[in-house]
């Protein structure tokens, strides 16, 4: 057992701890079709719910006639706002301090809004009966443009009539939600007034949707005998959902058990609370039977949370040499019919104030105005921390716009403005303390890896060939250096509905030296069962293969705020390391007793404690675990387990350098990504293979967003992109090959130095693709053009520049 023949390095390798490209333990079941998703759950007597949804974007609901639906054999109930009102559940609070209709209460505010909920014995009957619910609507004027909404006499939220104070301060207009200001307005305007150069541009980040492979859904099961509600669902934050359900339903929290089973992707779409959950819970309480509700794809795209829709007016000031002196941003944020953004409570525009990016900008000002329109509510962080993708896109476009104004190379402009390695921890003008970074090293490595100078020479030659009529294809070089802010967050300023955004881990070591760990986060594909076992393996010296990770069941897992905003590794991962260290501390005392030495005479050696100066005298973690259960050790309780609730002292700030090389056909608008290089610095790397997979997936979603994916509305408020025919999801065919790379700048405040990576590729990828399109046309006079860059919009750029003869 006590194998002395292996070197410490060999023993470390056998643990498959941090740094190991360990294969994902989850994939055994996923690749065999043995996952257990919400729609796989089948309970005795289970009923099915289906929504009747509004075909109109803005209308009064004059009447709802249920009779024909109720007459269908197998229909159990049809719920409307009238039925929910006596319970106080026809409206529900949103995460953003607003409230939202569960079922239409007198009017509808967006196409696809839930009007009635049909409960039936199977989903076919429910779908048939939903068709038979007769709703009489009276159409109202539709507002789809946030700028128009702020001027219009049309009142969208009549329930807020006369309320001049919102959850985040004064409301300036009946369709206005909040104004959020950061930084120094006067100082910034003074800098803009005195600057050598000011570049100004409107940067629009269009509305899109996370569109996870599995749509949202739940099964609510009320046991009338025990009084206990079990709620299975596609929840990215199961504990928060338990608390929310308790608060809005009045059920005691100990009588609610929330279970997130396997989740088929979340990307922010599954953070919020939806009408389907409330209606299913009510239906189960009323009928005493389990009730399942699962969205179809169109419902998912039309009604559950969208992302982005930020109009960002920017001004950036610089010296004539290119040193940036100030940044000004005014954002008009289209929130749809209800403010249901999923942000920490004190941040109505998320962490949009990370919009100074990777640059040392001494003076800055940001204002965000939230606006109601006749669109679906949401505003979630689609594979990014809260509004960080918007912020990164804004600054990375403004840098390009400034480079054009200065007639400078955009790579060089970035280089001379980067925050320098010796400036960390860095206080940004908009209030953040960046923990660590080495941007120059990453940037130089990236430029060298793609042969940046060679690419520019090739581009120059291509332009000559184009002008000579020898080619109709342009070459674009899209540069991005992004800085994220993830790992929300410190309880002192980050909470959701009053619950601090700490996270947790509980570890139990079994007598034979294996372990089970539970965390407050929940994987939706991130591979927690693989990577969190690796953290524990390295920290306590037991093989990762012998450690089970469980999450998602609020009856067993410690309380935590869930998985989104790249917070699992920064927060739950830190809790896991801290809990591991508590176990190791106790293990050291046990080892000292067994070896008959003082605690301080021992040193940790990969998987064992050894006597200092006498390495042949040691106890392995496995031996210690057994002793913890079978020896009466004076002064120590039996057993070996620990729990940690970790309140992070700061966010983490991952960064990266991405470069996209794109060919563009000016006649058809077609594009082809020839090369995509992604350098990520996420601090300590736990599993390089999983990081690479995260980068591949995230860049692919970025490609989709930048190059075609959108939730578009016509002027009547109809969703034009409600199916996957029109909503762009790249297939293997459209997905380019990626080159991944990294530098390692650990977080100084995180127990293992890790920063989080899952969302970096979306944050960095979108501006890289968009900048490539812009860069291709820059020599012909393009300054700014809005995403998504689908064929016709690229063609429109070329056409506008007179390139079609």
């Amino acid at each position: 057992m006590n194998d002395q023949t292996l070197t410490p390095e060999e023993r470390a390798t056998n643990l498959k701890g941090m740094g190991c490209a360990r294969k994902r333990v989850e994939d055994v079941r996923f690749t065999q079709g043995k996952g257990n998703y919400v729609d796989d759950i089948k309970l005795d007597g289970m009923l099915f719910g289906a929504f009747v949804r509004s075909p109109y974007a803005h209308a009064r609901v004059v009447s709802v006639n249920k009779e024909a639906a109720l007459a269908v054999p197998g229909v159990v109930a049809v719920l409307t706002a009238e039925d929910l009102a006596p319970l106080g559940l026809h409206w529900m609070p949103t995460l953003a301090g607003d409230k939202q209709m569960v079922l239409a209460d007198g009017k509808v505010l967006f196409q696809g809004q839930e009007v009635a909920y049909v409960v039936a014995e199977d989903r076919y009957i429910a779908a048939d009966a939903a068709e038979l619910v007769e709703v009489d609507y009276e159409e109202l004027p539709v507002l789809t443009d946030p700028f128009e909404a702020l001027k219009s006499d049309v009142v969208l939220r009549e329930d807020l009539a006369g309320q001049t104070e919102g959850a985040h301060g004064p409301r300036k207009h009946h369709n206005h939600i909040f104004t959020w200001e950061q930084g120094d307005k006067d100082a910034t305007e003074a800098v803009l007034g005195e600057a050598d150069v000011v570049a100004e541009e409107m940067v629009y980040y269009h509305r899109t949707h996370p569109c996870p492979l599995e749509t949202c859904g739940c099964v609510a099961s009320m046991d009338k005998v025990t009084g206990k509600l079990t709620l299975y669902g596609t929840f990215q934050a199961p504990h928060a959902i338990r608390t929310v359900v308790s608060l809005i339903s009045g059920l005691a929290e100990h009588n609610i058990r929330v279970i997130s089973p396997d989740i088929g992707g979340g990307f922010g779409n599954k953070v919020g609370a939806y009408a389907g959950y409330v209606c299913s819970v009510v239906a189960s309480i009323v009928t005493g039977q389990p009730v399942k509700w699962v969205e179809n794809r169109m419902e998912n795209l039309m009604a559950t949370a969208f992302a982005r829709d930020y109009w960002m007016q920017g001004k950036i000031a610089a010296t004539k040499e290119g040193k940036i002196t100030g940044l000004w941003c005014h954002t008009t944020a289209d929130h749809g019919g209800f403010d249901a953004c999923a942000d920490p409570s004190k941040f109505p525009a998320g962490f949009m104030n990370i919009c100074t990016g990777s640059y040392d900008i001494p003076t800055a000002y940001l204002a965000v105005d939230g606006v109601y329109t006749n669109k679906a509510p949401g505003g979630v962080a689609y594979r990014c921390s809260f509004r960080v993708t918007e912020a990164a896109y804004f600054i990375e476009r403004m840098i390009e716009v400034l480079a054009i104004k200065l007639n400078m190379d955009a790579a060089e402009l970035r280089r001379i403005n980067f925050i320098k390695a010796d400036q960390f921890p860095y206080q940004s003008a908009l209030g953040w303390e960046y923990d660590s970074g080495d941007y120059h090293t990453a940037w130089d490595k990236a430029l060298k890896a793609v042969d940046y100078d060679g690419l520019r020479a090739e581009q120059a030659q291509r332009i000559e060939e184009f002008k000579a009529g020898k080619t109709r294809k342009l070459l674009g070089i899209g540069l991005t250096h992004f800085t994220e802010i993830v790992g929300a967050g410190p309880v002192k300023n980050c909470d959701i509905l009053g619950m601090g955004m700490f996270d947790s881990c509980e570890i139990r070591i079994h007598p034979t030296g294996s372990a089970i760990a539970r965390i407050g986060a929940i994987s939706q594909g991130q591979g927690h069962a693989t990577t969190f076992a690796q953290i524990i393996a390295s920290e306590i010296g037991l093989p990762a293969d012998d450690i089970t990770l469980e999450e998602g069941d609020t009856d067993t897992a410690p309380y935590g705020l869930g998985t989104y905003g790249s917070r699992s590794t920064p927060v739950a991962g830190a809790a896991t390391a801290v809990a591991s260290r508590k176990i190791r501390a106790k293990a050291q005392m046990i080892a000292a007793y067994l070896l008959e030495v003082h605690d301080g005479d021992l040193e940790w050696d990969v998987d064992r404690f050894a006597v200092k100066g006498a390495p042949e005298r040691f106890k392995t973690m496995k031996e210690i675990a057994f002793a913890a259960y079978n020896q009466a050790i004076p002064g120590l309780e039996p057993g070996l387990e620990a729990v940690s609730y970790y309140d992070p002292p700061n966010m983490t700030y991952p960064f990266g350098a991405y470069i996209c090389v794109m060919e563009i056909d000016v006649d058809t608008g077609e594009w082809d990504v020839r090369k995509f290089y992604a350098l990520d610095d996420c601090g300590t790397r736990i599993n390089p293979m999983i990081i690479e997979g995260q980068v591949h997936g995230g860049v692919t979603e970025a490609l989709a967003i930048a190059m075609g994916q959108e939730i578009a509305y016509d002027e009547m408020g109809n969703v034009k992109t409600g199916t996957l025919m029109d909503f762009f999801i790249p297939t293997a065919w459209e997905t380019p090959n990626y080159t991944t790379d990294h530098t390692v700048t650990p977080s100084p405040h995180h127990p293992i130095g890790a920063k989080g990576v899952g969302e970096s590729p979306n944050v960095g990828g979108v501006p890289a693709f968009s900048n490539a399109v812009h860069d291709a046309f820059r020599p012909f006079g393009l300054v700014q053009s809005h995403m998504p860059h689908d064929h016709w919009r690229i063609w429109k750029i070329a056409n506008g520049l007179g390139m079609h003869g």
């Binding site: 169109m298 058809t668 029109d726 762009f728 065919w733 689908d790 016709w792």
Partner: protein, 277 residues
Amino acid sequence: MIPAGFEYHRPGDIASAIGILQEHGDEARVIAGGHSLIPMMKLRMAEMGHLVDLQAIDELRGVEIGPETVTLGAMVTQHELITHDGLTAAIPLIREAALQIADPQVRYMGTVGGNVANGDPGNDMPGLMQCLNASFELSGPDGNRSVAARDFYEAAYFTAREDEEILTRISIPVPGAGVGQAYEKQKRKIGDYATAAAAVMVGNGTASVAMTNLADTPVWSESASTALAGGNVDACVTAMLDAIEPVEDNRGPVEFKKHVAAVMLRRAIDRAQSRAG
């Protein structure tokens, strides 16, 4: 995404299938690969009481390669079109176009008969068949008849086929040696309908050009074909641009579609000419 209820029929021969159609009138629809009809049923944009599945009818299968005519059974799948060496040797244009339809999973199920019979202006095969001057054989209560592909399409989803008729076979004249062929398609992504697509045959002093998804029917233009046969590419493109009537959708506005139509047509002509003998 749950269709309304329907009765399912699976006849074993054409006569039985026609009998079911006669019995239920416009309450019944035939289903071939189902890749157009089933999504419409799930969206409840198409509702019918009776679905007549043609999968079990052997008479509707098979590819016959004659010296002058190729005959395709209506239930021949796109996958079979792609993998049939004899067909590719006789009319390479069919394989080239079929490869640009949807994705492999869809092509295993999607049939050439369903593609041409549905009357969806987005489908690729109707324009292709007009370019090739194919004819469609229809069987109905009153017997069989043949309709030229160029006369078959009346409006979106409206064709010369009567409700009680089934499209059974497609006959295609084998183009003469020396005729170059090409199919050029722009689409937003795999699985999408064409933003614009062009089917071109040219050589031996003849030419035929047709385009897809640029009007509510496929567009074969006699004047464009004549111009190209005479070697006048510009006149061919001009004639075709006069013939198409694209509408704005998520693929782009009319101006863009007309531009792309011309680009696709010129590229198809270039490629077809380079392949001409």
